[in-house]
């Protein structure tokens, strides 16, 4: 039992925290948003650090890090709203490495020369809609009835204008079946869930931190607004939920890494809880920033919009609850048949 980061995890956290703090300030986030939600400079900087391949095997140029390490990075990445699709890329590249037979491509992914993603939503007539990082990824993995398809094509560059300023795009995927391993696909999507949960924790904690800083400076009725219990109670609730989400996100990553029997369940749980907690935190922080929180000038709105957007890339959260319910209680039709 080790419910705090290990020395190694703290070292990873430290290195990436410094990188993102320096290279992904909100000016970069805003600039990237105007350019379609992606910063090539930031991606290249991340590649120079070994970020894109950190959790790939050393044999293909990766860093041999675990999913737990990746979750530590996802947390920092979320805190800075880094406009690079690190989570999608890492998960897709790991899936391709697991499938095997694409070592040359995986080497390209490990060094960041190629950018990979996963079409999280089912394909309809060969079209994957709302592909995360679909605007910029030249490698897209998709899931069809027969298994996993691999598409390598020029990304469109232009993103669909969207709430979160994300590089979303629809993509037509080549019918290039590379695996019939549905379990591997599910595992990869669960990795996406756990890592996105960790990113949500970074986001939610940071938006509370920003709000608490603001509450020290903002004077109303002659005193800093942070002295008001109404704000304190709201931030304390939000913070409690974020800490609960933090423990869940990293427990899910650990469970997936070590192949625990409840790993998939925990990944689904972690994402739903972390997303809701982060959305609550951004709501509180925006509310306690008053009108300024709503203005474009302040960063809270950047966090608010991304907190809303990230989980919706997977679809309506109700469907995620329904998916977990089916796993827990059996599908509804099954109940009727019984």
């Amino acid at each position: 039992m080790q419910t705090r980061f290990t020395e190694d995890e703290l070292a990873v956290q430290d290195a990436f925290r410094t990188f993102f703090a320096n290279e992904s300030p909100s000016t970069v986030v805003r600039e990237a948003e105007r350019a379609g939600g992606f910063s090539a400079d930031l991606w290249n900087g991340l590649a120079a650090m070994g970020g894109p391949g950190m959790a790939l095997p050393g044999s293909v140029g990766g860093g041999d890090a675990t999913l737990c390490d990746l979750a530590v990075v996802a947390d920092v990445y979320g805190a800075h709203l880094a406009p690079v699709p690190l989570v999608e890329h890492a998960v897709a590249a790991r899936l391709l490495a697991t499938i095997g037979g694409y070592d040359e491509l995986v080497v390209e992914l490990a060094n960041g020369g190629s950018l990979a993603t996963m079409a999280l939503r089912p394909l309809v007539d060969g079209i994957a809609r709302f592909v995360p990082a679909g605007a910029v990824a030249d490698v897209v993995l998709g899931h069809v009835d027969d298994g996993i398809v691999l598409d390598r094509s020029m990304p469109p560059g232009d993103a669909l204008p969207n709430t979160g300023g994300l590089p979303l795009a629809h993509r037509r995927l080549a019918n290039n079946l590379i695996s019939v391993d549905h379990v591997a696909w599910s595992h990869a999507v669960d990795e996406w869930r756990a890592l996105t949960a960790a990113a949500y924790v970074g986001l939610g904690r940071r938006v509370i931190e920003m709000g608490v800083e603001y509450s020290r400076e903002r004077i109303q009725f002659g005193v800093p607004i942070g002295t008001f219990q109404a704000l304190q109670q709201g931030y304390a609730d939000a913070s409690t939920r974020m800490e609960g989400a933090h423990l869940l996100a990293h427990r899910a990553a650990w469970a997936l890494e070590t192949r625990q029997p409840d790993a998939s369940r925990l990944a689904g749980i972690a994402l739903l809880f972390a997303a809701e907690a982060a959305r609550f935190a951004t709501d509180r922080s925006m509310q306690y920033h008053g009108g300024y929180g709503f203005s474009e000038e302040y960063d809270v709105q950047l966090y608010h919009r991304r907190a809303t957007a990230w989980i919706l890339q997977l679809g309506d959260p109700s469907l995620e609850y329904a998916r977990l319910a089916d796993a827990e209680f059996g599908p509804v039709d099954g109940g009727k048949a019984a």
Partner: protein, 388 residues
């Protein structure tokens, strides 16, 4: 991170499960409907296994079992619907006495608390002071070699079956409130003590206790004269480290799932087929995993010898607030049938959800209200200024 338990802790979990399967009966749980949330037979059987002494540090003469085993014991007992209140308080009082008590208390009282033959209760709150407990005004005055105690305490739950009350008193009214407090362990059969029941809206009863010229030998003093606040800090430390309360929801969720799968609505469908019911059940299961994360985190910190404060507050805040929500959601789901109490033969599973619904409001109040815990988080975790 690593969320696995060591093999000996996993073995202990199995031992506890086997023990509860054998020693905890439905009749025992049914008997708590008289309002006393304590099962003497179960308590003694646990004491016989050394489990009461388990969480008390070995350096102090306790069992020195790992905090990881304590959290497992608490978790399994709550999952099995075994009341943990009297046991928790008694063990905490023993730990406090071992840390602050004199030879009389550690040699004559503690062994009886840990072998299951005596029970203790808390005497902190008063009619006029609850959350602001340091303002307690129950008076203890020097009286020759001993003390004379006068005052009243509220919420001395279990006092009617307990042997001792851990009493917070004011020994100096002329200094700042935290500096004039002294603790005593008071035998409840001492002349001058009156115990009156305080019925509640739930099944459980509490008590008000009154102290009228209660004479006490100095041997019953716990810690230094005017040193009560440091004893209080120890009490809170153990309350967060030993006491349970992180898993009130699972028995309610079990009952809700049973209802959802077996009940037929007027339109012929089962609640479990309703997407809104399914989402509520999943949300409750998610909340339980959050509680599990918090509980294991606190146990891990205690195991590493880290003093924690805000983590305990977050755990208690989240567990009790979510429990209250679950009770409401699932009571609603049952409609009018959910209103039936355990006295009705038609009540689902002995009226378990109804009973929890009525019990749940107190959980966000006792042992530190949600508001006080949020203050602790705001000040201790977020560094916000003191606001009261």
């Amino acid at each position: 991170m690593d969320f696995s338990f060591p093999p000996e802790a996993e073995a202990f979990r199995q031992e506890v499960r086997d023990f509860l399967a054998t020693n905890l009966t439905e009749d025992m749980i049914e008997a708590t409907h008289d309002g006393t949330m304590h099962i003497p037979g179960l308590h003694r059987a646990m004491a016989d296994r050394g489990w009461l002494a388990g969480p008390v540090p070995a350096a102090l003469g306790g069992g020195g079992r790992s905090p990881l085993e304590s959290v497992i014991l608490n978790e399994e007992m709550q999952l099995a619907r075994a009341p943990i209140d009297a046991m928790g308080v008694t063990v905490i009082v023993a730990a406090i006495l071992l840390e602050h008590g004199n030879d009389h208390l550690t040699q004559h009282v503690v062994p009886r608390l840990l072998d299951g033959s005596s029970l203790a209760c808390f005497g902190y709150s008063e009619p006029e002071f609850g959350s602001d407990v340091a303002s307690a005004k129950t008076k203890a005055e020097q009286d020759g070699d001993g003390w004379l105690i006068n005052g009243a305490k509220m919420w001395t739950t279990m006092a009617h079956i307990a042997d001792y009350v851990l009493l917070l008193t004011r020994t100096d009214p002329d200094v700042p409130k935290h500096k004039g407090l002294t603790f005593f362990l008071v035998p409840l059969d001492t002349p001058g003590i009156e115990i009156q029941p305080v019925p509640t809206m739930a099944i459980e009863r509490s008590n008000a206790t009154f102290y009228d010229d209660v004479r006490l030998d100095d041997a019953w003093r716990v810690g230094d004269v005017h040193g009560g606040w440091s004893v209080m800090k120890t009490a809170l430390k153990y309350e967060r480290g030993i006491a349970g309360g992180q898993f009130p929801s699972p028995p309610v969720i079990d009952a809700a799932l049973d209802w959802a799968q077996t009940h037929t609505r007027p339109d012929g469908t089962k609640p479990i087929e309703d997407p809104t019911v399914r989402e509520k059940l999943v949300r409750a299961l998610i909340d339980v995993e959050v509680c599990r994360g918090f509980a294991y985190h606190c146990a891990d910190l205690a195991n590493e010898g880290v003093m924690f404060g805000v983590e305990g507050s977050m755990t208690k805040l989240f567990a009790s607030e979510s429990y209250k929500r679950h009770c409401r959601d699932f009571h609603d789901m049952m409609g009018a049938e959910g209103l039936l109490t355990h006295e009705s033969a038609d009540a689902h599973l002995g009226g378990r959800i109804e009973e929890n619904l009525r019990h749940s409001p107190v959980t966000t109040i006792y042992g530190g209200t949600s508001e006080i815990n949020r203050n602790v988080v705001a000040e201790g975790h977020l560094g916000m200024p003191r606001a009261r």
